[in-house]
């Protein structure tokens, strides 16, 4: 979709047009769902979080500048919402679903199983990180934000962002180093 069409959809949705907002959901739901799945670990929960993200997006839509790209903003709202939900919970071992949806459909059956198994290990490792470390990894690796942008999105000093990110990577490296597939 080109920028003009997206701007028009956002403007119409800001005016309360349900079909325009429905179209924006359709265009961005996969990305938002995956942000939630990486943050929360379970499909059912990720689906609920993604729905809740879109409700929040609509409630804040009047503050959004239609000249800016919509997807990065929505993904940031999703990451922040998941982080807030995780921060409210008592620390507990995170559970997660099998990761067959990450296997490339074009790969053969055996390769698909291997890919899915690898994805499952990475997700398990990701879920062992502290929520804030997970959010920083999400924003840096999947949303490709700079340190400054992450600091702004999470309302943290840049030094904290770097420290969380570098520590998270070290922990992930240690966990993935023990991965038998290496």
């Amino acid at each position: 979709m080109d920028d003009t069409a997206e701007r028009s959809l956002v403007t119409r949705a800001q005016g309360g047009d349900a079909s325009a907002f429905g179209e924006l959901i359709r265009l961005t739901q996969a990305a938002v769902y995956h942000v939630c799945l990486r943050m929360m670990g379970e499909r059912r929960e990720a689906e609920d979080m993604a729905q809740e993200t879109f409700v929040r997006v609509y409630e804040r839509l009047h503050t959004f500048d239609p000249q800016r790209p919509f997807l990065p903003w929505v993904r940031r709202v999703a990451a922040n919402y998941c982080l807030n939900q995780l921060a409210r919970r008592a620390p507990a071992a995170e559970s997660f679903d099998d990761a067959f949806d990450w296997a490339e459909e074009s790969a053969g059956p055996l390769a698909q199983i291997e890919q899915a198994e690898q994805a499952r290990r990475v997700r398990a490792a990701l879920l062992r990180l502290a929520p804030r470390q997970r959010a920083v990894v999400e924003l840096r690796h999947f949303q490709e934000l700079s340190y400054e942008e992450i600091a702004q999105a999470l309302n943290l000093p840049i030094s904290d962002v770097k420290s969380d990110l570098f520590r998270a990577r070290r922990l992930l490296a240690e966990m993935l180093k023990d991965d038998p597939s290496n």
Partner: protein, 182 residues
């Protein structure tokens, strides 16, 4: 040989080093197997995380989200009770003020006259405050403050104004929540 710090390795992978530092790090990595191995561990994290990218999903969040957004918004319980209390208090204040204002005011009352004592009081307080600050004498400051000498009608008019303001503030607070999709 001084090894590269963890921060430098991370910044190197994030392409966040300035050019001279990046070149120096590259030269060091070419000559240092230990740092190269650490870099490889970190790079593994980058490539493993890529396996969790966004893929297509068999999910349509649109209908559920739109259905929720079309329902009337519900206030959180505490905010709801507070708003009800504010509205009742404002209505009671108006009910008390109205008969007096209605019966006593037509002949002698004007809104500008009712506000006049408040303005005079503010001006007197300002003068007293300035004088008190100049003399740096707190006792003199309080002694110089004028007493509240508003007539009953003025007080009731002020109560009515505050009650109306409370109702308007509630309406402004509730309006964004009433913005629903069409």
């Amino acid at each position: 040989m001084t090894h590269l710090t963890e921060e430098t390795l991370n910044l190197f992978l994030d392409q966040a080093l300035a050019e001279p530092e990046a070149l120096a790090a590259q030269a060091h990595l070419a000559a240092c197997p230990a740092c190269s191995a650490r870099l490889a561990d970190l790079s593994l994290v980058f490539s493993r995380l890529e396996t969790l990218g966004d893929s297509q999903i068999d999910l349509d969040l649109g209908p559920a989200v739109l259905q929720r957004l079309k329902k009337p918004a519900r206030l959180p319980r505490t905010v709801g009770w507070l708003t009800v209390f504010q509205i009742l208090a404002a209505l009671v204040a108006l009910a008390f003020a109205w008969p007096v204002l209605h019966l006593e005011l037509p002949a002698s009352f004007s809104w500008s006259a009712a506000v006049q004592p408040l303005l005079a009081l503010l001006a007197a307080w300002q003068t007293a405050l300035q004088a008190g600050l100049q003399t740096a004498d707190p006792a003199g400051l309080f002694a110089a403050l004028p007493e509240l000498g508003l007539p009953l009608a003025g007080l009731l008019a002020a109560a009515a104004v505050f009650a109306l303001l409370a109702l308007v503030a509630n309406a402004l607070f509730l309006y964004p929540r009433s913005r629903r999709l069409r």
